[in-house]
């Protein structure tokens, strides 16, 4: 197993392996230090940061669904300032590769957070969350509209001093359009997907189970939608580095995303079910590669063989 080369390169971002954790599902990383050696992970994307600390949405914020869950946390976070001063030094000490997931209500808000991060070397990359469905402003407003998204990415790119990841929303008619808008305006890397918008109802009260009414659907239920979108973007934009995200639970799920065209993945909801899952996946992927005679995990990326699609034949 030591013979498998797990390193992956996403533009200028080099990761020791393709297993990262997804924003909002890994806290600030430190909460996981009891369960996982953070230094063994490819990267960790921390809970979405805003300029000022944010209280988030009133509860209830989560509910379980078949093979997944809905959430509308509303981006509660300690703010970029507290993160940099209180969390980042400890993350650095623990050897974590940190991706700062950031958001704002307006272009200015986004830019202010990115500006504050500046050239901070302990942050490996910045991930723009333009796809959160659980807030009234910002969030999906950008993620749904290639023009607004392009303008935002361009502004941020001008000031960002770290590699720039743009995290796309799956709640679109054509993922390639938003992907292209992000890349054409300076995104170095794409992350996909964020959650699908869903609604669950408490029948006794005839009220939404989530206080915000709708919530974001995550977990295995969405995995094949995510794999499809990764594949579509990989086909349309053969060169862009991609983080594949959505419903990853097992090593095979990671490989599925890599074969579809992701260069690395982020593990989300599975961290709640099993806080050690990310480190287990690093081992699992190495074992899968060894068992399948793959000496470099990056060789797997984008190896899906597709057949030409048939048109109808009529009798």
């Amino acid at each position: 197993m030591s013979t498998v080369d797990l390193a992956v390169q996403l533009g200028t971002l080099r990761l020791k392996n393709p297993i990262a954790t997804a924003s909002g599902t890994f806290g600030y990383g430190l909460e996981f230090a009891e369960f996982v050696d953070l230094s063994v992970l490819g990267a960790i994307s921390i809970k979405g940061l805003s300029l000022r600390p944010c209280h988030g949405n009133p509860p209830p914020r989560i509910c379980e669904t078949d093979a997944g869950m809905l959430n509308a946390i509303g981006l509660q976070n300690v703010g970029v300032e507290a993160f940099l001063s209180e969390k980042l030094p400890e993350l650095d000490r623990l050897g974590a590769t940190v991706i700062a997931n950031v958001w704002g209500d307006t272009e200015e808000d986004y830019c202010a957070v990115v500006e504050r991060i500046g050239a901070e070397r302990r942050i490996a990359a910045i991930e723009l969350n333009v796809s959160c469905p659980n807030v009234v402003k910002g969030g999906m407003v950008f993620g749904n509209d290639p023009v607004a998204l392009g303008a935002l990415v361009r502004k941020v790119r001008e000031i960002a001093k770290r590699p720039l990841i743009v995290k796309l929303s799956p709640n679109v008619g054509d993922i390639v359009s938003t992907a292209r808008a992000a890349v054409d305006n300076g995104a170095d890397i794409l992350s996909l997907i964020n959650t699908l918008v869903g609604l669950a109802i408490d029948l006794e009260r005839r009220e939404p189970k989530i206080g915000f009414t709708t919530g974001g659907l995550s977990g295995p239920a969405i995995r094949h939608v995510a794999v499809r979108m990764v594949w579509e973007v990989r086909r349309a934009l053969p060169k862009v580095p991609i983080f594949g995200i959505g419903g990853i639970e097992k090593a095979e799920d990671v490989i599925e995303f890599l074969v579809a065209g992701a260069n690395a993945v982020q593990v989300g909801t599975a961290n709640f079910r099993n806080p050690s899952v990310s480190a287990e996946l690093v081992k699992g992927v190495a074992e899968w590669c060894a068992a399948h005679g793959e000496s470099r995990v990056s060789n797997i990326v984008g190896t899906l063989k597709t057949r030409p699609r048939p048109e109808h034949t009529y009798a």
């Binding site: 909002g24 509860p59 914020r61 379980e64 977990g219 961290n271 709640f272």
Partner: protein
């Protein structure tokens, strides 16, 4: 320090169709557990239900000489149903001990406290009763349920606290006082009993009434809250309750044991 480990089922003890005790191997979680803490258990093969479920660590004990953790469970849905059917020897993934325990370090012999339980809210109070009794602290139990069969583990409480220190209330009058547990507790206060602190676990309406009583009587309280949880260790931010200082606090990490004064009851 919380541990993610797999513990085998030692025994399931059924009280009635809707209530049972589940005894798991103590593992490294049992010896660390403090009263009021909880664990996240995976029921079934982890697909249905998809998420783990939170249960108070009701007792740390032994079963046939083997160190055991006891959970007392009320069947309300798919997860608790599945847990109720597990066979002896089945491995159950458990994450724990989690959360802020009931504060007891500041108490000593001579102090007198009350335990107020509503329904399945008895669960965290068993281990609390054990620790209090070991420390020689006098505790009175006020325990209410819908009917006699919802009032569980009376023998344990009576052994730990003394039978005269255990009082019951039931909605249908089948055991103890006919009425609410908070009325039972108010009766004791009216009778002149003074408590240094009140530990409570139960449904929100009980909490709400009790918070009012305690505020009025200026008695310190520690309530073990519940909330739907995805992770149990402070990272999903799903389990929050509104706080008096205008924030949202995670029940799993800042709680579950919180003073009632920390909560903004008007927004709960």
């Amino acid at each position: 320090m919380a541990v993610n480990e797999t513990l085998r089922v030692l025994r399931t003890l059924r009280y009635d169709a809707r209530h049972f005790s589940l005894f798991l191997q103590a593992g490294t979680i049992g010896p660390q557990a403090q009263p009021g803490q909880f664990a996240m258990l995976q029921a079934g093969d982890g697909w249905r239900p998809y998420l783990r479920r939170a249960f108070s660590i009701a007792d740390v004990t032994t079963w046939r000489g083997v160190p055991a953790i006891e959970f007392v469970v009320k069947v309300v849905g798919v997860g608790t149903e599945t847990l109720g059917r597990v066979a002896e020897g089945t491995p159950v993934p458990v994450l724990g001990p989690l959360g802020v325990p009931f504060p007891i370090g500041d108490l000593g012999p001579g102090d007198r406290v009350a335990l107020v339980a509503g329904g399945i809210g008895l669960a965290p109070l068993v281990l609390l009763a054990r620790h209090l009794s070991e420390k020689g602290i006098q505790a009175d139990l006020f325990y209410g349920g819908r009917n006699e069969s919802e009032i569980l583990k009376r023998a344990d409480f009576e052994r730990l606290l003394g039978p005269h220190h255990c009082r019951y209330a039931s909605d249908d009058g089948s055991l103890g006082r006919h009425g609410l547990v908070t009325e039972l507790f108010e009766g004791a206060l009216a009778g002149g009993t003074r408590f240094r602190r009140v530990y409570a676990c139960g449904p929100v309406p009980m909490f709400r009434a009790l918070a009012g009583i305690l505020e009025e009587a200026k008695i310190d309280g520690s309530f073990a809250f519940e909330s739907a949880m995805a992770c149990g260790f402070g990272v999903c931010l799903g389990c929050v309750a509104p706080t008096a200082d205008g924030r949202f606090a995670t029940i799993c990490r800042e709680g579950p044991c919180l003073p009632p004064s920390a909560i903004d009851w008007s927004r709960l």
